[in-house]
Amino acid sequence: MPFPAGDTLLILPELFLTAAGLVVLLWATAVSREGERGLAFFSIGALAATGILLFVSARMAGALPRSGFGGMFVMDRFGLYFKGILILVSIVTILFSLRFIGAASYPGGEYYGLLLFATVGMLFMASGTNLASIVVALELMALSQYVLAGYFKRETKSLEAAAKYFVLGAFSSGILLYGVSLVYGAAGTLSLAGIATAFAAPKPPAFLVVGIIFVACGMFFKIASAPFHVWAPDVYEGAPTPISAFFAVGPKLAAYAIFARIFFVGFGPRAGDWTAIVAASAALTMIVGNVGALMQTNVKRLLGYSSIGHAGYALLGFLAYGDKSGIGLWSVLVYLLAYAFMNLGAFGLVILLEAKGYAGESVDDFNGLAKKNPWLAAAMLVFLLSLAGIPPTAGFVGKYFLFSAAMKAGYFWLALLAVLMSAVSLFYYFRIARAMYLVDGEGTLHWREEPAVTAAIALCAAGTLAMGILPGPFVQFARTCLLPFGP
């Protein structure tokens, strides 16, 4: 046995979820159309069980961090933090999907199966400590995403989204791999710890910097930050809306996890080489995302551009790499949790209000929501306030710490730009608020029509408010989930 048997314990949650995905695929061949809701609830149950297994295996693993499989995989609090959020995101996505998959005569088995496999990929990403395992897990997630984007294949827009995403995603993977190969050539190892040791040498070869830039480009693509953001609005618009919600949060969070791990742990000694790139991308991303969102009338595109803007804010945390308090990393962690809540919630409202069930979503869908259902309108208002970064919501807390991280790192101009762009974002977020409260609409909307979606929205709203009103425990928790870092 090359590995101790205890290593299997570390990947127990991932193994379980893979098995659950296989069960869903097999089971799908035996159920009728009505029985497919059972598949959805089985998937939710499997995800919840995976969450419990995460906790159990972390307990049984003893002192964290614990590394396994020859340094391919690590179980640490940083990874567990992401995995917990990612599992929650997948559960919410399935709750969102119930209406679509039931109504639109697309079979659910492959859909839920692919969603579970994408989650497996994301979980492995959060724990990867070797560029080989990270890249393979990333590709597992990405491939599932391409298929899910095109799942509504009688809709041209869905197929278009899948094709665009596939071509651009494959291209970015190529660039990422090219970068990884250059880094490997310079360091002689793919292990992040090994790379850090090798890169601490005073005079690295010049192509190392090119490798780091290429890896950064691959990361920028996955988190949809400028200038690699163009795919995001198109894909979010064309993909089935629950999948858009998933794309905007889950895979992005997983990408942030590997971004932080590769750059903080592996490329940490070379921070001087990459902070300038990250700063430039952050500035560009904030401008492109927020200004681009101003023009949008399609809500999914609007949220797409808004999520680009948010990627720019999150990059600010990366700039405070060297700060001894670790604020660079934990501000990102806090922000991503807030981002998950508020973005999923906003997409939930879009799903609830889509007039035609698919591809008809415009800001006008929100007209008169306050009269149709004041509670849902209030929930959307909370999400919008949070996205804009106004207290007392999670978004404010997240942005506050990110901006102070940027200030601590000495990037005053970026913090100023971020505040300015947050002000710009008010315009487009409040277009939706205006439609809800000041424009008349007809009919009523009772929560019983869509209990699953409403439940997910309520969960997100509760999370957004709880983080906004009582940020202390969340921040304290995030501060215990840092990576071993620092020059």
Binding site: P2, V120, V136, Y146
Partner: protein, 201 residues
């Protein structure tokens, strides 16, 4: 002459093949160019003393995958629509970006080729070492009724063993994740390729 010459020969074959894939008008010709490129890569593997990889490259890529490509092209019967622009309107920008990339990457790689790598990266490129990777494993023997395991270091001769050790020991976890990846690829192809997804019942 000698090895550098052969390296440049194979490198030229790979490059010419790759350019041909995108430049040929007929899909079948593109496929043949791809085959040329694959064969060139196999030659480069041989030069790097990775004979096993070279054989796999020929069997799997030049053999299996090329046949699939050709089958697909014949089944789909791709024909270029008359009057359709052959050169994309963004070709100029693409060429410029491509050459810029070539200049940056090529320039830095050439510039750093004289600098020794970090942490003995120079040793890594030594093909002789690759072919004789040493492995240490525990051998359990029964001595006086007790199991005694002693670490034994062996030299792996030939690189199929070295590949196997890499694949099934050092990179076991990515290897298993890749198997899930392939499963997803298969399901995805079925999901997107099936003509209709409506149920018959």
């Amino acid at each position: 002459m000698g090895e550098p010459f052969i390296f440049w020969l194979f490198a030229a074959i790979v490059t010419v093949g790759a350019v041909g894939v995108v430049a040929m008008r007929q899909p079948v010709h593109s496929a043949i160019c791809l085959l040329l490129s694959f064969l060139g890569v196999a030659g480069l593997f041989v030069l790097a003393q990775a004979e096993f990889l070279a054989a796999v490259q020929i069997l799997v890529y030049a053999g299996g995958i090329m046949v699939l490509f050709l089958f697909t092209i014949m089944l789909v019967n791709v024909k270029r629509a008359a009057g359709q622009p052959y050169v994309h309107t963004q070709a100029g920008a693409g060429l410029l970006a491509g050459f810029l990339l070539l200049a940056i990457v090529g320039g830095t790689v050439v510039a750093s080729s004289r600098v020794r790598g970090l942490s003995g990266a120079g040793d890594l490129a030594d093909p002789a070492r690759l072919a004789t990777t040493s492995i240490t494993r525990d051998v359990t023997r029964v001595v006086d009724g007790k199991n005694v395991s002693t670490p034994v270091t062996e030299i792996v001769i030939g690189n199929s063993q070295a590949v196997a050790w890499g694949l099934y020991r050092d990179y076991l976890l990515p290897f298993e994740v890749a198997s899930v990846f392939l499963l997803v690829a298969m399901i995805g192809a079925v999901v997107l390729g099936k003509r209709t997804m409506e149920r018959v019942d």
